[in-house]
Symmetry: C2
Subunit: 182 residues, 2 copies
């Protein structure tokens, strides 16, 4: 089997920003020619399915500027300097929903869209929930919505929940719970 | 309920590239203050679960430069000028795997990572497959792998399939087939 690897020949940072950087690299392709690769550098992120004893999940509604509309998603956020995924998940869940969970399980990790960014998302299941106080970031405006897991799955097929991490989170939890794998 | 909308005050394109553009906008936040939003503009994309009569799926292995490794994913690609999602899905499946499908169904559409990009992915189920000839793009190097849907799901939990669209695609098809919703 031949290698599919692309080797970096040159790299130019074209933008260093607040939440992301953009690099344009020249690469050696497997057939010996050269190509260009545009790469958005983004820190790791987490997403959380917070499930209570009634099999309800907590969603957050927020305006997503890049897509120009409000989306209903599972709680999520990006890792800060030196933070571990679990630590980040606990902080984000508390900030966005005011929830504290006694039981945490990592479910899977996945690249959001590996054709142009290195963003990796770590998905957790949080159970044994206790409601405390919501305290979002100062430029973050979110509303918390609680629905049954079954209703959330129905919302997926109706297009009312329509981002990748929430779709993965809800389907993964449904699959793993049904098989007693979590 | 107060609005969560953020209004564009200013917009600067900082990069126009081959597969993406980067914009930095100044926005009016819901509380009247201003903020900055970094937005990666990306065209729509498609992903395909190609399922044969033996309940096997076709995966493609390719080097993903942004994450620096080979990934095993469902076939996917981005929409070209004026292309409709279904037309794009048919073209990408043929290019990457050489497969032609008589039966196509849209499953769902989702934003890859709406915190920083407008990329929207349209997911299809392709059945009644016929093998023709693979003809990838000139800078695309892919290897086709066929596994059972059950094995593909096991690979998800082992981390051997680890990108968002493939995870959504495999879990969605499993869920919908079990309920005879497709």
């Amino acid at each position: 089997m031949t290698t599919l690897t692309e080797k970096k020949l040159d790299s130019q940072v074209v933008y260093r920003g607040k939440i992301l950087n953009l690099r344009v690299d020249t690469v050696l392709l497997p057939d010996g020619r050269t190509g260009t690769r545009e790469v958005v550098e983004y820190t790791g992120a987490v997403a959380i399915v917070a499930l209570n004893e009634k099999k309800e999940v907590f969603l957050v509604r927020q305006y997503r500027y890049p897509v120009g509309k409000e989306l209903l998603e599972i709680p999520a956020g990006k890792m800060e300097n030196g933070e571990e995924p679990l630590q980040c998940a606990q902080r984000e869940l508390a900030e966005e929903t005011g929830l504290w969970a006694a039981r945490w399980q990592p479910l899977c990790s996945f690249y959001s869209t590996p054709g142009f960014t290195n963003e990796k998302m770590h998905l957790f299941l949080a159970r044994d929930l206790r409601q405390e106080r919501q305290h979002p970031d100062e430029d973050e405006f979110v509303q918390v919505v609680k629905v049954s897991l079954d209703e959330a799955l129905a919302m997926l097929w109706r297009g009312e929940i329509c981002d990748a991490k929430s779709t993965v989170g809800l389907l993964a939890v449904h699959y793993l719970l049904a098989r007693e794998m979590v």
